[in-house]
C-alpha cells in the first residue's frame, strides 16, 4: 500500500489532500455560512458617502467626468474600482487589513478585527495581507483627509518624509489636485475601510515620546 501506485495516488494524492481541505477549508466555511456576505451596495453607508461627496466638492470637474453625480450607486462603482486597483497595484503586499489581538495592535490601529468585517463582496478575495511595510489600513477611513491622500499618492515624501512608498502619479492628470478616475476610486476605497465600525474614525494611538527614544 505504501509503495503502490493506488496507495500513493488514492491515499496520499487525493485522500490526504481532501482530509486537509475538509478540516482547514470546509470547517470555517460551515462555521461562517450563516454570516451572509453583503454586496457592495449594502456596505455603502453615510460615512463613506460623506467622503464621496467631499471628493465631488474638492475636484468637481474630475469627479463629474469620472462618476457623474455623488449617488450611492456611483459610490458602489467607485468602491469596486478602488478595490480592484488596491489588488492590481499591489497595495496589499505592503499594507495589511487585519488588527491582531497582540503586540499592542488594538491600541495603535483600533478594535481587533472580527469575522463580520470581512463578510462582504469587497473582501473577496480577502485582503488580510502578509506584510506591513506601511501601516495597517483596516480602519483607515476618516483618519486623514482625502486631499492628504491625493498628495500622498502623487508623491508620498511630500507629506510623509521618510516613506519608501512609490509614487502613483498615474492616478492623476499631472498634478496632485487633479486626480483622475483611478485616483478618486482608490481614495473612496480607503475612506470606506472601517466605516462600518462603532469606533469610526479611529486615530492611530502612538507613544509620541517614543520617537525621541529611538
Amino acid at each position: 500500500m505504501f509503495e503502490s501506485k493506488a496507495g500513493i495516488l488514492g491515499i496520499a494524492g487525493i485522500g490526504f489532500f481532501l482530509f486537509a481541505f475538509i478540516s482547514n477549508v470546509w470547517t470555517p466555511i460551515l462555521m461562517y455560512k450563516d454570516v451572509t456576505e453583503k454586496t457592495v451596495e449594502e456596505v455603502v453607508n453615510y460615512r463613506v458617502m460623506a467622503h464621496f461627496g467631499d471628493l465631488n466638492r474638492r475636484y468637481p470637474e474630475a469627479f463629474k467626468e469620472a462618476f457623474g453625480e455623488p449617488t450611492e450607486e456611483n459610490c458602489a462603482a467607485a468602491l469596486r474600482l478602488g478595490r480592484q486597483l488596491y489588488i492590481g497595484e499591489g497595495c496589499w503586499h505592503c499594507h495589511s487589513q487585519f488588527v491582531r489581538p497582540v503586540s499592542n495592535e488594538s491600541k495603535r490601529w483600533g478594535p481587533v478585527s472580527t469575522a463580520e468585517e470581512y463578510q462582504n463582496e469587497l473582501q473577496r478575495p480577502v485582503m488580510f495581507g502578509t506584510r506591513r511595510v506601511g501601516p495597517d489600513l483596516s480602519h483607515e477611513a476618516g483618519r486623514r483627509s482625502s486631499d492628504w491622500h491625493a498628495v500622498h499618492f502623487f508623491d508620498p515624501p511630500l507629506v510623509s518624509p521618510d516613506s519608501p512608498m512609490p509614487k502613483y502619479t498615474w492616478f492623476f492628470d499631472g498634478a496632485p489636485n487633479k486626480p483622475n478616475k483611478r485616483g478618486l476610486a482608490i481614495i473612496t476605497y480607503l475612506q470606506w475601510l472601517g466605516t462600518s465600525l462603532d469606533s469610526y474614525p479611529y486615530y492611530e494611538q502612538v507613544n509620541a515620546d517614543a520617537e525621541e527614544d529611538y
Partner: protein
C-alpha cells in the same frame, strides 16, 4: 549506447528529448533573470534609491508580484518540467506520452507565464475603462484585469483556466510512463506522482475558490492553504523527488535507508497539507483550526529531520566529494538550508513568535531561504550537472561555476540573516507604539544590506549565464570526470 550490452534496455536518446530539456532550462533562466531584476527594483524602492519611481509600467508594487510569480511559474515550474523530462523516462524506461504534447505543453506554459506577467503589469492601467465595469456587472465577477488577490496566485483570472488545463496535460504526459512501468516504484516516482495530483488540485483551489466560491475569512483560510500548498505540495515533492534521483547517481551509492524514505514521503503527505492556516494566525479564523495548523507544522519539522538524516547517512564517509563535485555541493548546501528553514518554521509558527515577527521582514527572509536557498540551488546543481550533457561540452570555466555557487549560497544566507534581524527590530518597534516612521527609518540599514545581498545573488546568476553562453559558443569538449559521474542510464 548501452544497447549493445543490454539489448533489453531502451536507448537514452529514445527516452529523453534532450532538446526539450534544454529549452525548458533556457526558459527557466530567462524568467529567473526577469524575476531578479524585479527584486532589485523593489529593493531599490525600499531604500528610496529607485531612479524609475513614478513610471507606471515599472511600478515596484506591480513588479513585486512579477518577482514572485516569475520565480514560481517561470523559473521553478519550467526548470522542474525540464528535469522531469530527464528523470521520469529514465526511471520508468519509457518515454513520455507524446512528443507533440510535450512541445505543446512547453509553448502553452510559456504563454501562461508571459500572460501572467503582462496581465500584472498592464492590467491595472486598463482597469478604469468602462467596458471592464460593464463586463463585471454582467458576469458578477470582480474583474481585476491585473493580479488576482491571492498571494502566489496573482495569475490573472482570465489566464487561470489555461494554466489549469496545462497542469492537467502535464500530469497526463508524465503519468503515462509511470502507470505503464511494472515492478516496484523508486522513491522519486512516489513524490512525482503525488505532486502531479497535488499541484493540479492546489492550483484549482487557490485560483478559483477565493474568487468565485467563498469570500471573507473562509476565503482567507483557502488563501492560506494555497500559499502553503504551492510550496509544500508542488515545489517540495518535485524538489525532493529530484534529490532522491540525482544524489544516489552522483554518489554512486544507494539511499541510506528505505524506511526513512517511506517516513519522509508519508509524513510530508499527511502533515504538509494541514498547515495552511498558520499563515493567518490571530485572524478571526477559528482558533482551534489555528492550533491544528501549528501542531502539524511542528510535526512536519520532525519528518523533515528524518529526510535530512537519510541524505546525510547517504553521503556519510564520502564527504570529500563535496569539495570537488559541484552539483553535490549545491544539493547538500540546499539541504542544510532546508533544515534551517524548517527548523525556523517550527519556531516562528508558535503564537509566541507570531506576536513579534508576523507581518515583518523575518518572513520575507524565510521565504527567500526556502525558494532560493533550497529549491533554486537544487535546480542550479542539476543544471550544472545536466547542461554539459545537453550541449555536449564541458563547462567553459570551472571557476565561474564556483563563483556562481559561492555568491548564491553566501548571498542568500546574508539576506536571510539580515531580514530575520530586521524582522525582530520591526516587531519591537511596532509593539512599542513608536510612530510608524520609526520602524521604517529603523529598517533602512537592513534594507541596504538586503539590496547588496540580492546583488550578490544576481552576480552569481550572471556568472552562470555568461559561463553557459561561453560553453555553448565554445568547441565540443570531453566532459570533466568531476562533473560526469553518471552512466548514460540510471
Amino acid at each position: 549506447m548501452t544497447s549493445d550490452v543490454k539489448p533489453l534496455l531502451p536507448r537514452h536518446d529514445d527516452l529523453v528529448n534532450e532538446r526539450l530539456v534544454a529549452w525548458y532550462f533556457l526558459a527557466a533562466l530567462t524568467f529567473l533573470t526577469v524575476s531578479m531584476l524585479a527584486g532589485l527594483l523593489v529593493a531599490l524602492q525600499l531604500i528610496r534609491a529607485n531612479p524609475l519611481d513614478g513610471v507606471e509600467l515599472l511600478s515596484p508594487a506591480r513588479w513585486r508580484m512579477v518577482h514572485t510569480n516569475a520565480i514560481a511559474y517561470g523559473f521553478l515550474a519550467n526548470a522542474f518540467l525540464g528535469c522531469l523530462h530527464w528523470a521520469i523516462p529514465r526511471l520508468t524506461l519509457r518515454p513520455v506520452a507524446s512528443v507533440a504534447l510535450s512541445y505543446f505543453i512547453f509553448s502553452a506554459w510559456q504563454f501562461v507565464v508571459v500572460c501572467t506577467a503582462a496581465g500584472i503589469i498592464l492590467g491595472p492601467s486598463f482597469q478604469a475603462q468602462d467596458w471592464v465595469a460593464e463586463l463585471a456587472s454582467q458576469f458578477h465577477i470582480s474583474m481585476s484585469l491585473g493580479a488576482q488577490g491571492v498571494e502566489w496566485g496573482e495569475t490573472p483570472f482570465w489566464i487561470d483556466p489555461v494554466a489549469q488545463l496545462g497542469l492537467l496535460l502535464v500530469a497526463i504526459n508524465f503519468m503515462t510512463p509511470i502507470v505503464r512501468q511494472r515492478g516496484p516504484m523508486y522513491v522519486s516516482l512516489w513524490y512525482f506522482m503525488a505532486a502531479f495530483v497535488w499541484t493540479f488540485l492546489t492550483y484549482g483551489m487557490g485560483n478559483f475558490m477565493p474568487e468565485y466560491v467563498v469570500g471573507g475569512v473562509s476565503g482567507g483560510a483557502v488563501g492560506g492553504l494555497f500559499i502553503h500548498d504551492l510550496v509544500g505540495l508542488f515545489v517540495t515533492p518535485l524538489g525532493w523527488g529530484l534529490m532522491y534521483y540525482f544524489v544516489p547517481i552522483m554518489l554512486k551509492r544507494p539511499i541510506w535507508s528505505h524506511g526513512l524514505s517511506l517516513v519522509g514521503f508519508w509524513g510530508l503527505a499527511f502533515f504538509y497539507p494541514l498547515q495552511g492556516i498558520h499563515h493567518f494566525l490571530y485572524t478571526p479564523i477559528p482558533m482551534f483550526l489555528q492550533y491544528g495548523a501549528i501542531i502539524s507544522t511542528i510535526a512536519v519539522e520532525l519528518v523533515v529531520t528524518t529526510v535530512v538524516i537519510n541524505f546525510i547517512g547517504t553521503i556519510w564517509g564520502d564527504g570529500e566529494v563535496l569539495k570537488k563535485n559541484l552539483p553535490i555541493r549545491w544539493f547538500y548546501c540546499g539541504m542544510i538550508y532546508y533544515f534551517i528553514t524548517c527548523f525556523q518554521c517550527a519556531l516562528q509558527v508558535t503564537l509566541t513568535f507570531q506576536k513579534l515577527i508576523h507581518f515583518t521582514d523575518w518572513v520575507v527572509g524565510h521565504a527567500h531561504l526556502v525558494m532560493f536557498g533550497v529549491f533554486s540551488m537544487w535546480i542550479f546543481g542539476i543544471m550544472t550537472y545536466l547542461f554539459p550533457r545537453l550541449i555536449g561540452r564541458d563547462w567553459y570555466s570551472r571557476k565561474l561555476c564556483e563563483i556562481h555557487f559561492w555568491f548564491s549560497a553566501v548571498g542568500v544566507f546574508i539576506m536571510f540573516l539580515d531580514l530575520g534581524l530586521a524582522g525582530v527590530f520591526q516587531g519591537y518597534y511596532w509593539a512599542s507604539l513608536a510612530p510608524w516612521d520609526v520602524s521604517v527609518t529603523g529598517s533602512q540599514s537592513f534594507w541596504v544590506v538586503r539590496a547588496f545581498a540580492g546583488l550578490m545573488m544576481f552576480s552569481g546568476t550572471l556568472c552562470f549565464l555568461v559561463n553557459l553562453y561561453l560553453t555553448w559558443r565554445g568547441p565540443v569538449r570531453e566532459l570533466n570526470p568531476d562533473i560526469d559521474v553518471a552512466p548514460a542510464l540510471a
